[in-house]
Symmetry: C2
Amino acid sequence: MISKGEATRDRILETAAEIFNRKGFGATSINDLLGATGLKKGSLYFHFSSKEALGFAILEKARVDFLAFIDAALTGATPEKQLDNFFSKVMKTHKRTGFVGGCIFGNTALEMGDKESSFAAVIEKVFEEWIERLRTVIAAAQNLGEVRSSLPADVLAGHVVAAIEGGIMMARLKKNEKPLSDALTGIHDLLRL
Amino acid sequence: MISKGEATRDRILETAAEIFNRKGFGATSINDLLGATGLKKGSLYFHFSSKEALGFAILEKARVDFLAFIDAALTGATPEKQLDNFFSKVMKTHKRTGFVGGCIFGNTALEMGDKESSFAAVIEKVFEEWIERLRTVIAAAQNLGEVRSSLPADVLAGHVVAAIEGGIMMARLKKNEKPLSDALTGIHDLLRL
């Protein structure tokens, strides 16, 4: 059972994540957050000492959720099927939201990229963990002859994450699936023998 | 010869572009712009009626500059060499800045992506023009048997732009070239027969 305080904290995290992802972190004001959560300033600051602390908590939660998504999506009888399953889950997830929001890590990275911040460190870690998980499955698929071995698994994994992130960004901009679909089709052809 | 007014306008555009790209459009205040340009509020507003108008002018200028960059980089004796030349110019350009700033269109797209704005329309157009230019060269390379024909040229071109944009975003985050280099290596292998 979660306490009333924890429930409020979770509600703030969820509401604020949605606003940050839609408006951008920099453009979101404390008043936006108060309006959306219906909280008084004192309650908001009781749970999070600053907008930065709230942003950090959202990224940390998004990181845990995304790693769980990766692990759930990278399933299948063979490494090749695990990769296919992952790619279709990525498309399905973004189609479901109508390409609104995009990728919280990509969005925040681009907004915060040149500033010294604890945000950058969390986001870097997410991309590293994502690439590492894909690298392991790609290497296993290469060993079985399911994926081309002309490039090292870490380079392929890095390319895959770059193409997906760029595809999500452009699909979000256009609000249609073609950019992400082109990115995934290219990935599919690149990985195959 | 350009007038004093035009020179001031150009200086505002240049200074503001650098700040927007580093801090993000939303997080940049009018005071930041006044501080960086050394102008009084009245002079700034004489040239640009709002932060939005300034942002729009910067994107339009960046669009013209980037299309000129593409045309200058897509040169070489054969379509294949034009593509290779373009990819190495992309890497060179971002290496030169130490991966600070990244891609103004990707940055702004991710910050503004879900808002109704004239920005989104300019950025969409840039990506369309970029993809179209690459598509033409890729199609020519396919006709000569220099690039694989298993995928249509527009899908390959879309994939290429997605991978480059994602690679620039992650290279900017990490301040090292590996993410962009992995993206380009994957592109190279994908395009080759």
